[in-house]
Structure formats: structure tokens, C-alpha cells
């Protein structure tokens, strides 16, 4: 019963990763793609947490590098400055 519910939740995670990949494929502009890759990284982190009890370190490192990558992309794609300063 537990294993069936866990398998169902992993399947729902795979479906949502597929929908996010559709957005990353056809997103108009680089900002939509960056947003979709950020959401995809969160989905992969949740999958790593649910799949095994030993992949917590990989999930933590992936979340850290995802934050760094998305923050630097948002900063440097927007001309390296903030709009109302």
C-alpha cells in the first residue's frame, strides 16, 4: 500500500516534469526557459528525496547550485542592474 502510493506520487512528479519540459521547449524567451529549468530542478530535488534514503546530499547540492544558477541568470540577463535604482 505504501509502495503503491509512493509509486503513484513518483509518477505524478514525472508527469509534472514533462509539462515543465514542454514549457522549457517552447517558452518565448530565455527568462521562461530559466524559470522552467528552475522548476524542473525543484522537481528533481523532490524525486531524489523520495526515491532513496541516501540521496539527501545530492538533493541539497542540487538545490544550492540551482539557486546560484537561477539568481545569476536573472541578474546578468537583465543588463546586470536593477530597473528602479
Amino acid at each position: 500500500m505504501t509502495l503503491a502510493i509512493l509509486t503513484a506520487s513518483l509518477g505524478v512528479l514525472a508527469l509534472s516534469a514533462l509539462l515543465v519540459l514542454v514549457r522549457a521547449w517552447r517558452g518565448p524567451g530565455v527568462f521562461d526557459r530559466a524559470l522552467a529549468i528552475d522548476a524542473l530542478t525543484l522537481i528533481v530535488v523532490a524525486t531524489l528525496l523520495l526515491y532513496s534514503s541516501l540521496s539527501v546530499d545530492a538533493a541539497l547540492g542540487l538545490a544550492l547550485f540551482s539557486f546560484m544558477g537561477t539568481a545569476l541568470l536573472g541578474y546578468f540577463l537583465g543588463r546586470g542592474e536593477f530597473p528602479h535604482e
Binding site: M1, T2, L3, I5, L6, A8, S9, L10, V12, L13, L15, S16, A17, L19, V20, V22, R23, G29, F31, D32, A34, L35, A36, D38, A39, L42, I43, V45, A46, L49, L50, S53, V56, D57, A59, L60, A63, L64, S66, F67, T70, A71, L73, G74, Y75, F76, L77, G78, R79, E81, F82, P83, H84
Partner: protein, 131 residues
């Protein structure tokens, strides 16, 4: 992982979290422009990750000694950093002049959600306070 009350509760929490991830993915796919699309993975996926991590703690937590602490650290990190990265992306898009949908600009007729097709090269800035 074995059958019992706590792993069953953890699996149910994981199912709820993955449904929130599905909500975030549908919102990311169907909302009209970038600024509304930035809401979907920021809030719904953060909540889904919190639920999935709590379910993972209940699923695997009692086997080893300190893995639940690391999952708690991961939840705290994601709660702190997901709004920051989304805010940086949205401010970068506003600096580049990514167009908004008309129904979020406050000047068009209410209730019409349409994709911006006729906006040219896309270097029009969104409306600011002084314009």
C-alpha cells in the same frame, strides 16, 4: 521502508506534494505571460517540496540518525531561496522589457486574458510609477 502507520502517512504527504508540483507545472504551462508564470513554480512548487520532504522524513526518517536534520536544512534553504531567485528573474525580465498581458496592466477591459501577439520587438518597458 516498511509497512506501518508512519510510512503510510509519509507516502500520503508525498502524494499531496506531488499534486502541488503538478499544479505548478500546469500553471507554468498555461498562464498568459512571464510575470504570471513566475508565480506558479515559486509558490506551488515550494509548498510541494515542503510536503515531499516531510513525507520523505516520515518514510525514511527513523532508519538513520541525522538524515532528518539534513532534510530540515534543505526545506529551510528552499523556503529562503526560492522567492529570491524568482524575484531576481522577474526584475531582470522587467529590465529587459518582457511584455505583459493586457489584463494585468490595469488599463484594458477586465477579464480578457490574451497573449500579446502584436507587441513588436518587445522592448517596451512595463508601466512604471512615473509614466
Amino acid at each position: 521502508m516498511s509497512d506501518g502507520a508512519l510510512p503510510l502517512a509519509g507516502a500520503l504527504l508525498s502524494l499531496a506534494g506531488s499534486l502541488f508540483f503538478l499544479t505548478a507545472a500546469v500553471g507554468l504551462l498555461r498562464l498568459p505571460d512571464f510575470y504570471t508564470r513566475a508565480h506558479a513554480p515559486t509558490k506551488a512548487a515550494t509548498l510541494g517540496l515542503l510536503l515531499c520532504a516531510s513525507g520523505s522524513v516520515l518514510l525514511y526518517g527513523t532508519q538513520s540518525d541525522t538524515l532528518w536534520l539534513e532534510k530540515l536544512l534543505l526545506m529551510l534553504f528552499v523556503v529562503l531561496t526560492a522567492p529570491v531567485s524568482a524575484q531576481l528573474l522577474v526584475r531582470g525580465a522587467a529590465a529587459r522589457g518582457i511584455p505583459q498581458t493586457p489584463s494585468t496592466q490595469g488599463t484594458s477591459t477586465a477579464g480578457s486574458i490574451e497573449l500579446l501577439e502584436d507587441n513588436g520587438a518587445g522592448d517596451r518597458r512595463p508601466p512604471t510609477e512615473e509614466s
